[in-house]
């Protein structure tokens, strides 16, 4: 249908391209529900800090402005022009991640050095690395598409660059973000038809490394132990999970009613960030879980549909990567709250308090919206079943 645009519409689209309206609606819905959920979950905590009940929700609403700007910019940008600046974007993202290590600039919070102090707020550069990495991989894997079939060796340089980025995230003691970025990278490598031998080698190398990284970090081992034996350490990490599970159970199928949850009052530390979904579930029940996850699923389905139909390799990988990133972040956060995977400091897109996560989400969504407006999406795979050799406008 996008191919049937009149000239006038196409002209207007070039400023802010007209993409998938369903996708846009889902984003607006999730952003609205997210701020409301945050307001309910954090009000007691804000009051206990001597703030007004809407303190965190208001902060979040203020962050919605730069997030909207980021979304609009990413939705409007010319993807080919963006692709041309892939190198610069990647280097900037990598460079930003060095900042937290600079004394005086980096801020250590809860045992992790992942924020930089911007005076008026703090920023977490690893949030920016995730979309930047997807942009880079989409570009490089499309470029090497032909050659990788001949030798998996051409994939080693991009792999090393991605690994460097993930290691920098890991060095900020942010294992979860590093893992999410790593898994997203693997997904993009996968859809870009990387040879199976590449994944076999990756698996052989990664297993001992992963085990080592868990065992060498006392803090991480404790989290994993607390996952298997939550009651063993009821004042530490297990305490968050136990509180979260209690909240989810007490919500039942229909919830206690919006704003009526009681467990958010102190029994789940950091409820406004990593465990906001537990508070949401307590208040809205299983129905609320299904509703929010359905909205996410709708979002993901629209995004994947675009990526699958895209005839251009770069755009397809980009869509796939961004959609995968959003899905993974959501699933991991929601699974952590339900005690299904070990606790991690992972934000829930649209819901968790924090500007960095919101802006990262806005960038991913903006690019996906941009793709949905792309004319090449309608064409689908070429008659030969392959993407055209050169990235081009159809």
């Amino acid at each position: 249908m996008t191919a049937m645009r009149t000239g006038f519409e196409a002209e207007r689209a070039s400023a802010a391209k007209r993409g998938d309206r369903g996708f846009l609606a889902a984003i607006l819905l999730l952003a609205g529900v997210g701020v409301a959920a945050l307001w309910s979950a954090s009000s007691e905590y804000a009051l206990s800090l001597g703030r007004s009940s809407g303190y965190f929700a208001l902060r979040q609403a203020i962050f919605l402005l730069p997030a909207a700007l980021a979304f609009w910019a990413c939705a409007a940008v010319d993807l080919d022009a963006l692709r041309a600046r892939t190198g610069a974007a990647t280097l900037i993202a990598l460079g930003l991640m060095l900042l937290p290590f600079i004394p005086g600039l980096g801020e250590n919070r809860n045992g992790a050095t992942r924020w930089i102090d911007l005076r008026f707020t703090t920023f977490q550069p690893s949030e920016l690395w995730k979309p930047a990495m997807v942009l880079y991989l989409a570009h490089i894997l499309d470029k090497k598409r032909a050659r990788m079939a001949e030798s998996a060796g051409v994939l080693i340089p991009p792999f090393l660059l991605v690994a460097l980025g993930c290691l920098l995230v890991y060095a900020q003691n942010d294992f979860s973000t590093a893992a999410i970025a790593g898994l997203t990278a693997i997904a993009v490598f996968w859809v870009a038809l990387s040879p199976v031998s590449f994944f076999l080698g990756l698996g052989a190398a990664a297993t001992p490394l992963a085990a080592l990284s868990v065992l060498t970090s006392d803090f991480r081992l404790k989290r994993i132990l607390a996952f298997f034996f939550p009651a063993y350490e009821p004042h530490g990490q297990g305490y968050q999970i136990l509180g979260s599970l209690k909240a989810i159970r007490s919500g039942g199928f229909f919830g206690k009613g919006f704003g009526l949850g009681s467990l958010k009052r102190g029994s789940i530390p950091e409820v406004q960030s990593d465990f906001i979904f537990a508070a949401w579930t307590e208040e809205t029940g299983f129905i609320g879980v299904v509703a929010v996850l359905s909205a996410f699923a709708f979002l993901a389905w629209r995004a994947f549909r675009v990526a699958l139909a895209e005839s251009d390799g770069y755009r397809s990988y980009l869509g796939m990567g961004m959609a995968f990133l959003l899905c993974l972040e959501t699933l991991v956060n929601v699974a952590v709250a339900a005690g299904a995977v070990p606790a991690t400091g992972m934000a829930l897109p649209f819901f968790s308090a924090g500007g960095s996560s919101l802006i990262s989400t806005a960038i991913s969504c903006g690019l996906l919206y941009n793709l949905s407006a792309s004319p090449s999406a309608a064409v689908g795979l070429g008659p030969a079943g392959e993407f055209p050799r050169e990235a081009s406008d159809v």
Partner: protein, 617 residues
């Protein structure tokens, strides 16, 4: 469509499939959680009230008492004001001023705790300062707290509560559903006064013997109620983390060990009841037990002395190993095993403490030819102190085993009785005659010649059995030459058993002896004295009058005056007050107390209009 298209589609769809499957699993997990029982205790536990725990007389052993966390929310503090207030904040919270300033100026977190679980006066001081305009950014949080007013008293039985209001040990853990879920209060069977006295004795025993642990239990012989439950080392549940975790170990119920000679009580009761021997059956102890197996193997078990000719009574009086071993040969292994199971060995007593051990009594098909005589002497069998105490109820109680109980009753939130535990007979193990014969033999053990003479009290008949068990050295898997458990079981008064006391001292390392008769028996005497003093059980030479607790006064029978005047001398005035209501005679009274003089004199005629004058003093 070429193969590449299919391959590409396959790659995309595998990603969708993995994500979709994961999403389904997560949704299923939420559905499962939503459908799982609402768990009122879990849902409300964070701020719910726990019921109190009290002793049998209502003395509170554990109660809720809110505590307070004091924290700083840095963005709210004033750069100009806070440094000036730090000294005052330090004085209130007990955190040093330099630490407060350090964390405020260069701490990693915007939100940090100064003190957790502080007492209400700390919170009050902070609040007052805040009302006066000071301490901006200082936050006070109320958290549920648990107070143990009697501190270490019965710490293992009462247990303790961790952060997040979850019971981690003792009744606090085992009774969590009731205490927290239903808000019930529990009344225990223990008597705080008895407990206090016995803990002092056990603590003294720890110090004087250098033991690794001491277990000391007292039970009501008739009902099986535990009156005192002592484990040493102990801890203060108000600050349980200050004690090493070993101090939390609930020795009497969780630890199992070979009991040694005290066990002969149950061996002899079994043999006697099975008809393997009677009071006249004798055995010859030449300093050891000898047996030649059909295969020609010679089995020898040493005795401490040459006891000569012994019967069942003498075996228990002298603690004769050879006699006990020979006696055990007179019954079938299976029957012997069944009786020991009947006493409760090899199974949990069901006492309400977490992690109770069933002990270890191997089934007879795995026994060697040595096993029966060895078990008869209390080795090759593992028991817990609570099992020993429970088994003794069968001896004290005419042959009927009682279930040991620690909870007397539970009260609902509104004070109504939720339930009261009645004494629970478990089963008849031996006949009443057997039980009384064993009691008599145990009483002989407290005679001047017996091994338990040091437990004897002058005015109360004591039935006693001592024991000194070798312990297996975990390093060599052989019996150690230096590690012993010295123990004593006492039932008193022997003629009408009221109380069972069991004391076990694990690995005594100081002092002149490690024998139960030497170090445990004298302590049991002290225990018995303490229990007798607190419970008011009648004593021979110095009888305590059993008082029912209420004074019954005779009903007031008004004195009647008929045709003749009765002798009223000594009659209290209050009995005569109804006379004032009489219209037919005039009664004048003077003074208070009892009648000292009267007119008319006794026996004189009384008619209408007669004036009666009574003088009281």
């Amino acid at each position: 469509m070429g193969p590449t298209v299919n391959q590409r589609k396959l790659r995309y769809w595998t990603v969708f499939a993995v994500l979709g499957l994961s999403a389904l699993l997560v949704v299923a997990r939420y559905g499962y959680l939503a459908a799982s029982p609402a768990q009122p205790k879990a849902a409300e536990s964070a701020d719910a009230e726990r019921g109190t725990i009290a002793d049998r007389n209502g003395r509170v052993l554990a109660m809720d008492s809110p505590l307070y966390n004091v924290a700083v929310w840095r963005p709210e503090t004033k750069r100009a004001a806070f440094p000036g207030e730090a000294a005052r904040l330090a004085a209130i919270t007990g955190v040093s001023e330099s630490e407060i300033m350090d964390r405020w100026s260069k701490g990693a977190s915007d939100f940090f705790y100064l003190t957790k679980r502080a007492l209400p006066q700390v919170a009050r001081s902070v609040q007052e300062a805040k009302e006066g305009g000071a301490f901006e950014g200082v936050v006070v949080e109320k958290v549920p707290g648990r107070l143990y007013p009697e501190k270490r008293l019965a710490s293992h039985l009462v247990g303790f509560v961790g952060d997040g209001n979850s019971g981690l040990a003792g009744m606090e853990k085992r009774g969590e559903d009731e205490l927290l879920g239903e808000g019930r209060s529990l009344t225990l069977t223990i008597d705080a006064d008895v407990q206090f006295s016995l803990e002092a004795i056990a603590r003294k025993a720890m110090a004087s013997t250098g033991a690794e642990a001491v277990m000391l239990l007292a039970a009501d012989a008739k009902t099986g109620e535990i009156l005192s439950y002592v484990a040493m080392p102990d801890f203060d549940p108000n600050d349980y983390s200050a004690s090493p975790e070993e101090a939390w170990y609930d020795w009497p119920s969780v630890y199992h060990y070979e009991p040694g000679s005290v066990f002969k009580v149950f061996t002899m009761a079994s043999v006697l009841d099975l008809g393997g021997a009677d009071a006249n059956t004798t055995f010859t102890c030449d300093g050891a037990y000898h047996k030649v197996t059909p295969s020609g193997e010679k089995i020898t078990i040493k005795c401490l002395e040459v006891h000569g000719t012994v019967n069942i009574e003498k075996i228990l009086e002298f603690s004769c190993n050879a006699g006990a071993a020979y006696a055990s040969d007179r019954v079938e292994s299976v029957d012997f095993y069944d009786r020991l199971r009947g006493f409760g060995f090899g199974s949990r007593t069901g006492i309400v403490v977490p992690g109770e051990t069933p002990g270890l009594l191997r089934s007879p098909e795995t026994w060697s030819l040595r096993s029966k005589p060895t078990i008869g002497m209390g080795q090759e069998i593992f028991v817990s102190a609570i099992q020993m105490t429970a088994a003794a109820t069968a001896i004290a109680n005419g042959g009927v085993l009682m279930k040991p109980q620690v909870v007397k009753r539970a009260l609902e939130r509104d004070g109504k009785v939720a339930y009261a535990n009645e004494p629970q007979p478990v089963r008849r193990v031996v006949s009443a005659e057997t039980a009384s014969a064993i009691l008599a033999a145990m009483e002989a053990a407290s005679s001047e010649a017996g091994t338990g003479k040091r437990a004897k009290i002058a005015d109360v008949r004591m039935a006693v059995k001592t024991g000194t068990a070798q312990m297996i050295d975990p390093a060599t898997q052989r019996y150690s030459e230096k590690d012993y458990i010295a123990s004593t079981l006492a039932i008193f008064p022997a003629d009408d058993p009221r109380v069972i006391v069991y004391l076990a001292i694990v690995k005594p390392s100081l002092g002149p002896s490690y024998y139960g008769g030497r170090i445990a028996a004298p302590l049991v005497k002290e225990v018995a004295e303490a229990v007798l003093n607190v419970t008011g059980i009648p004593r021979g030479a110095n009888p305590t009058i059993a008082h029912p607790g209420a004074v019954t006064l005779p009903a007031i029978v008004p004195v009647a005056i008929g045709d003749t005047m009765p002798n009223l001398t000594g009659v209290p005035k209050r009995l005569l007050m109804p006379l004032l209501a009489r219209k037919d005679i005039k009664v004048r009274m003077s003074g208070e107390g009892y009648v000292v003089s009267q007119s008319p004199a006794p026996g004189a005629a009384v008619s209408v209009g007669t004036e009666v004058v009574l003088e009281f003093r």
